[in-house]
């Protein structure tokens, strides 16, 4: 669901472009703190992963299917900065090489899909993990709630942008209710898939889940000698 060209007027598009530029710049600095000189290869591979994941169709029934947006998932898996960066790069590539999302709407798309979903998803997950008991089993539910909230939140940001630079006169309340209602449903799907995927990764490689870093208990290396085994 990328915003195409001409959905928002030119001044708004340029303004969101500027904001997105700054946001990506900040994310670049943050990601270097998260990943150091691993940034380029790892963020690149995670971006390729996000892109590929968006191609997996999840059947909803009656012949329709949806796909993951992956903002909150990326935030939970690789951290907020790298997450913003990866999803932004995905959006740039989609816009330039697949014409998915208008080039003038690129800033808007980065702001909505990369920044809004990742930041909201991360924030909600983080707060929940602070409140909930510190157990690995809590990470996937927290991520699911984060993913659920992140989708309508992005829809709300879109409604806000539309109020400023929309090109059609639909009453704002109509748009807001339609966007929120629809995206709450999408958010449910996003939450379910994020929950299942994070759970699957936690059971195999919990150390790879960024959000779980605080809750994985540090285990000391135990060397079992013959006597200890016997």
């Amino acid at each position: 669901m990328h915003v195409p060209d001409g959905f928002l007027d030119a001044p708004t598009s340029i303004a969101t472009g500027a904001v997105a530029f700054v946001a990506v710049g900040v994310a670049l600095r943050g990601a270097r703190r998260e990943l150091d000189d691993k940034t380029a290869p790892l963020a690149g591979l995670v971006a390729a992963f996000v892109f590929a994941t968006q191609m997996i169709n999840f059947p909803v029934g009656a012949g329709t299917s949806g796909h993951l947006m992956g903002g909150a998932l990326a935030a939970v898996l690789v951290g907020p900065w790298t997450g913003v960066l990866c999803v932004s790069v995905v959006l740039i590539v989609q816009s330039l090489l697949f014409a998915d999302g208008g080039i003038t709407a690129l800033g808007t798309n980065i702001l909505l899909i990369a920044v809004a979903t990742v930041v909201v998803g991360w924030f909600v997950t983080r707060v929940l993990l602070k409140v909930l008991p510190k157990r690995v089993g809590m990470v996937a539910p927290a991520a699911a709630v984060g993913a659920f909230v992140s989708v309508p939140a992005a829809a709300l940001v879109f409604t806000g942008l539309y109020a400023v630079g929309g090109t059609a006169d639909i009453s704002l309340t109509t748009l807001a209710t339609a966007m929120l209602g629809w995206h709450t449903v999408i958010g449910l799907g996003e939450a379910a898939i994020t929950f299942l995927a994070v759970g699957a990764i936690l059971s195999v490689r919990p150390d790879l889940v960024y959000a779980a870093r605080g809750v994985i208990s540090e285990r000391d290396l135990v060397i079992k000698t013959k006597e200890a085994v016997a």
Partner: protein
């Protein structure tokens, strides 16, 4: 034509299109003519473009709904009461969106991913971002191939995803794909470090 000039041309062209008032119908015919000329000169096959225009479909639906939900004076068209301004907005959305998709596809059709990355580098996109993009583009095929192999493996065991009950299986594939991609990233990084990588790409 160098890729960075194409990107600049695309951005400039689309800004003009987006800024053009939607009442100037003639201007849109002109824009379309420009794109058709570009396509003809670059020998882009119309079928290739049409097939990839499906990305626009969700917004076509939105545009079609526009005349029904917008406010303002209404006109009767074929017995339906439609909003005048809604019709105009729908036209504006469709025209600008479609021109955007066609223009974007012109760039995509005539530029390889590698050229594009180099073009963006010349446009002074931050070096780190260019590197990330280069890696993504380079490994996109590898990762999607991995995903396709998983799909084949699922299918060969008789799995067909029909309803949300099958989501856990797909989500586990997503998880496996993440682990494989991440580990590949680590391996690539180590391979680069062992060849003297310090955080910048050699030119």
């Amino acid at each position: 034509m160098p890729a960075h000039l194409k990107v600049l041309a695309l951005v400039g062209f689309m800004l003009v299109v987006v800024a053009t008032p939607r009442e100037w119908f003639a201007a849109y015919a002109f824009f379309l003519a420009v794109l058709v000329t570009v396509g003809a000169v670059a020998r882009v096959r119309p079928g290739w473009v049409l097939k990839r225009m499906v990305v626009e479909v969700p917004f076509v639906v939105f545009a079609v709904l526009m005349p029904f939900i917008a406010q303002g004076p209404r006109v009767d068209v074929l017995g339906l009461s439609l909003s005048e301004s809604g019709l105009l907005s729908a036209w504006g959305l469709l025209a600008k969106g479609t021109l955007g998709v066609i223009a974007g596809l012109m760039l995509a059709a005539t530029t390889t991913p590698q050229e594009l990355v180099r073009g963006l580098e010349r446009l002074r996109m931050p070096e780190q971002l260019v590197q990330i993009m280069a890696f993504m583009v380079r490994y996109l095929e590898v990762v999607t191939d991995e995903m396709r192999r998983m799909a084949v493996a699922r299918a060969s065991r008789g799995f067909v995803a029909r309803n949300p009950l099958h989501w856990p299986v797909l989500a586990r594939s997503v998880g496996a794909l993440f682990i494989r991609s991440f580990e590949r990233g680590e391996r690539v990084h180590l391979a680069m470090v062992s060849r003297g990588y310090t955080g910048r790409m050699p030119r």
